[in-house]
């Protein structure tokens, strides 16, 4: 019944809009209307072009004003993070300048040279100097950005084995994450999904005969010691997933049938990050929003929302099926001691088997 009602209402609204347009349309009959723009139209639209330019500028300013805090620009938590952030800032400045100038020229010209009867346009077909200038300037600017970008990229993607990184496997499946540590020897045991044996609780398909595998540790919450390089080895058991850790400026797809990798060094512990001014503001703001929503919910007799406390997250960023929107794992960055204490409590692979 509601369905029928909705369809009828939607239809009525559509018909109403249609009729309004029709009235508008019919009201114009009679005038010597050729449907070709005349001076009046040119003038009106010329001014609207300037109005539109103002609109573009205003929406830009509003976005920076209200949403400028949203981007995770100031709170990167990895060694390479500031490199990416400053490249981002430089690119944004370049974009901002070009955008402001070109939009101005486009809309200002549209206003300034709006047509008038009897005026003749300037026949101006080409100018090689001008063409050379606006080919040359982008070449130079882009060359700078490309070189800067490539250095940053190579820094991030080159994993230095000399640094003795902590090896962690990120294991993705519909719709959750697991992490596997190499244990005492920091070497991951061999694994393949063909070795998965659910009866023995070997859920990641780790090779039970591999000596390196015995001390591996499998967990559902990722703990990382601060300031130690981590090299993630990623696997997926079913479909593509993407391991996205926005605060660490890190992302890599998890691909069934192969092992991908990404390395970084976390530099700020979870506890320290919670104490930064930016993060305090953000959390305060989010909790304000959540309280408002909770009030609404409790008024309807539903459960209130939990207050938000900041945590680093690993989230899935490649469409992977129904619950893609809720595939996450908490990441805790802590001091070396805290990490070691936590690790000592974990069960090794050999002991976890049934």
């Amino acid at each position: 019944m509601t369905t029928l009602l909705t369809i009828i209402i939607v239809l009525f609204v559509a018909v109403a809009i249609w009729q309004l347009i029709k009235i508008f349309d019919l009201a114009q009959v009679g005038a010597s209307n050729t449907q070709i723009a005349d001076d009046k139209d040119n003038k009106m639209n010329g001014y609207l072009m300037m109005g539109f330019l103002a609109f573009i500028y205003i929406i830009t300013i509003l976005c920076f004003w209200y949403l400028g805090d949203l981007p995770l620009m100031s709170n990167s938590a990895s060694e390479h993070g500031p490199g990416i952030d400053s490249l981002m800032a430089i690119s944004m400045v370049v974009i901002f300048i070009v955008q402001t100038v070109t939009q101005f020229l486009l809309h200002y010209f549209a206003f300034k040279y709006r047509g008038e009867k009897g005026r003749k346009a300037l026949f101006y077909a080409d100018n090689n100097t001008l063409e050379a200038i606006w080919t040359g300037i982008p070449v130079i600017v882009l060359a700078g950005l490309i070189i800067y970008g490539l250095f940053t990229w190579n820094d991030i993607m080159n994993v230095d084995d000399q640094e003795d990184p902590l090896i962690v496997e990120l294991y993705a499946q519909q719709f959750n994450w697991k992490a596997r540590y190499g244990g005492q020897d920091n070497v991951l045991g061999k694994a393949n999904v063909r070795l998965i044996d659910l009866d023995r609780a070997n859920i990641l398909g780790v090779d039970e005969g591999d000596p390196n595998a015995q001390d591996d540790v499998i967990v559902t919450e990722l703990h990382l010691p601060v300031n130690r390089p981590v090299l993630f080895k990623m696997r997926s058991q079913d479909v593509l997933h993407s391991a996205y850790m926005p605060h660490f400026r890190a992302q890599m797809n998890c691909v069934p049938g192969m092992v991908t990798q990404f390395g970084f060094t976390p530099t700020v512990t979870t506890a320290d990050m919670r104490e930064t001014e930016d993060m305090k503001d953000k959390v305060l703001n989010i909790n304000k929003i959540r309280t408002e929503k909770s009030n609404e919910l409790t008024a309807n007799g539903e459960e209130a929302l939990e207050p938000y406390e900041f945590d680093y997250l690993l989230i899935c960023n490649k469409i992977c099926g129904k619950s893609h929107y809720n595939m996450q794992m908490k990441i805790i960055v802590e001091t070396e001691e805290e990490y070691n204490a936590w690790m000592a409590e974990q069960t090794t692979f050999a002991k976890s088997l049934n």
């Binding site: 029709k22 539109f52 949403l67 981002m88 549209a110 990229w153 990623m234 469409i319």
Partner: protein, 598 residues
């Protein structure tokens, strides 16, 4: 060239007195103008309405997640129990919206309408090289539309793996309901679509190369034709690769091969697949997928070039630079696909190479943008609705193109890959820009297609509401993307981290809904003008190109007598030494008149 024209002149008379039945005139027509209209109605209007409705439902779900909505209940039926949208159908909507808009509306709809209408008319040909293949191309497209729409009605719902349908998600029916029959129909529909697209493209290429009238050298072609021609070339190069990817995926799905699959454990069992790689599929897909962006965009830019020049009453600035930049974009577009795959697990060195080629493509794009702006300078701008949409296109092309500098940079892409930043970027640069191209083209060539004028004031209302809303939707979206919000999430309520983006999502959705309603203005204008619009004169925009030398009445063969010969380039607007501010291409050069362009 001239030989071909002559033979056409011979059968000219027969053509005129050929009896056209309803079926041969309106259904199985081989006339390029009728086929263009068929593409316009099926591709742009019908598929466009479905695609836009889907996007509005997606936006409503994002703004008011998991809340009962009567619209969902009415339109989605069993997929929205008690009006709450199901998570699986959300992904299906995202998938089909992308597929419809990219392929059906902006590839077949845009090229099919305007390449078909304008290529013969603007180069001075009686029809396409093969009217029959042209008809087959349209009907294959029609069948692919029907198959795609049928997939909405199968038990498990339509394809839901994203418009890129990456395997294994798309290959394994047990991975999600949308990878069952719906996905099979998607693949079948796309295979037919590609066949249609290839037939069309080959026809366009052959026609442009062989059927130009006397005097129409390649450097006298309007930029529309250059754009359609190069678009067709890119299509012929890249679409077969998508076809092979689709066929291999069908093999993996239905015949147990392992092209894209290996080592999979799902729902408690190990599958037999071994040795394939999903990354191979990504390469094949994006080898089409990226050129596809330009298949969508170049025709829109071609249309814009023509409309901006005509309505500025000025030659397009840098005609040869425009052709060269089209060629450069076409070439570069085939070697940049890897920028969609920086974090796919491919070798990081490849990432460096693709960053380099990708940022190079900004150069010809910048040249085009600057040339458009210079064309406006000291013009005598006639603000017809088509002109407004063309200026709007340049604006969104700049805004959307600039953020490409960030996404094309592999280091920056790490953190914004697959977030709303990407959604904002590509919607502005190819979605909105190309749609503006379609609108501009419809307003401009409506008199040619239907012999009547569209209402200009409704056109103004349509443009200004759409223009404001387009920025209102996509400008703030960049910021929630930079906040790290992934795309294709059914709801963000499981991440308190993103709670501060929720208000912005509502604002975006409100803008989107208004923009959607504004399209009713266009629809009304379009339909009522076909029947009641003011009768058009032969050359309403006082344009130089050949289509305006043809009579207003629908006529098989385009010109009643001989095909006009061409004596000049198409952009002699406001040329010194002429009384009128336009000199059509078929007007012979005066004694002592010089070509004032290089």
């Amino acid at each position: 060239m001239s030989a071909t024209v002559d033979t056409h002149n011979h059968d000219d008379h027969d053509v005129h007195h050929h009896k056209e039945t309803f079926v041969t005139k309106y259904i199985f027509s081989q006339d390029h103008k009728m086929i263009a209209k068929q593409y316009l109605i099926t591709g742009v209007i019908v598929m466009g309405i479905i695609g836009i409705l889907m996007s509005l439902m997606i936006r409503m779900q994002i703004a008011w997640p998991e809340q009962p909505n009567a619209v969902f209940q009415a339109l989605l039926g069993k997929w929205a129990p008690e009006g709450v949208m199901d998570a699986d159908i959300y992904l299906a909507l995202v998938t089909i919206h992308g597929t419809l808009m990219v392929f059906f509306v902006l590839t077949a709809g845009l090229s099919g309408t305007f390449s078909n209408l304008l290529i013969p008319l603007q180069i001075g040909a009686r029809d396409m090289a093969s009217g029959f293949l042209n008809m087959v191309s349209y009907w294959l497209f029609f069948v692919s539309c029907v198959v795609m729409i049928l997939s909405f009605f199968v038990e498990m719902g339509p394809a839901a793996a994203g418009w890129t349908i990456y395997p294994p998600l798309s290959a394994l029916p047990m991975a999600q309901p949308g990878s069952g029959t719906g996905m099979t129909l998607w693949l079948v529909s796309m295979a037919i679509f590609i066949a249609s697209s290839l037939l069309g493209s080959l026809n366009y290429i052959v026609t442009v190369l062989n059927l130009r009238t006397k005097g129409m050298s390649m450097t006298r072609l309007p930029l529309t034709i250059w754009a359609f021609f190069i678009t067709a070339v890119i299509g012929v190069i890249s679409f077969p690769v998508l076809l092979s990817a689709a066929l291999l995926l069908i093999m993996d799905r239905s015949f147990g091969t392992s092209f894209f699959l290996s080592d999979i454990f799902i729902q408690g069992e190990v599958l037999h697949y071994q040795g394939g790689s999903p990354v191979l599929y990504e390469h094949l897909f994006w080898f089409l997928g990226h050129p596809e962006v330009y298949i969508v965009l170049l025709p829109a830019l071609g249309i814009t070039s023509e409309i901006i020049a005509t309505n500025s009453r000025k030659p397009i600035f840098g005609y040869r630079a425009m052709i060269l930049s089209i060629l450069a974009i076409a070439f570069l577009s085939t070697i940049v696909w890897g920028h969609h795959m920086f974090v796919s697990g491919m070798n990081p060195f490849l990432g460096s190479v693709f960053t380099f080629t990708t940022l190079l493509i900004a150069i010809p794009s910048a040249v085009k943008a600057f040339n458009y702006i210079t064309t406006l300078w000291k013009g005598n701008l006639q603000m017809n609705p088509a002109m407004l949409f063309s200026i709007g296109l340049v604006s969104t092309f700049i805004t959307g193109g600039l953020t490409g500098i960030i996404l094309g940079d592999s280091a920056l892409d790490i953190n914004v890959h697959d977030t709303y930043f990407v959604v904002a970027h590509f919607h502005l640069v190819m979605g909105i820009s190309a749609l503006y191209g379609v609108f501009a083209g419809v307003y401009h060539w409506f008199p040619k297609m239907f012999g009547r004028m569209m209402n200009k004031n409704l056109g103004y209302i349509h443009f200004w509401i759409t223009a404001v809303c387009a920025y209102g939707v996509f400008f703030p979206m960049h910021f929630i993307g930079m906040a790290g919000l992934p795309r294709r999430y059914y709801t963000n309520s499981n991440f308190p981290l993103f709670d501060d983006t929720a208000d912005t999502q509502v604002v975006i959705t409100v803008f989107a809904l208004i923009a959607g309603l504004a399209q009713i203005v266009f629809l009304y204008n379009f339909i009522s003008s076909i029947f009641y619009g003011k009768k058009a004169e032969q050359n309403p925009w006082r344009s130089n190109t050949l289509e305006w030398t043809a009579p207003v009445e629908h006529m098989h063969g385009n010109w009643p007598g001989e095909i006009p010969h061409v004596h000049r380039w198409p952009y002699d607007y406001s040329k010194p030494g002429h009384d009128e501010d336009f000199v059509p291409q078929n007007v012979p050069m005066k004694e002592g008149e010089e070509e004032l362009h290089h």
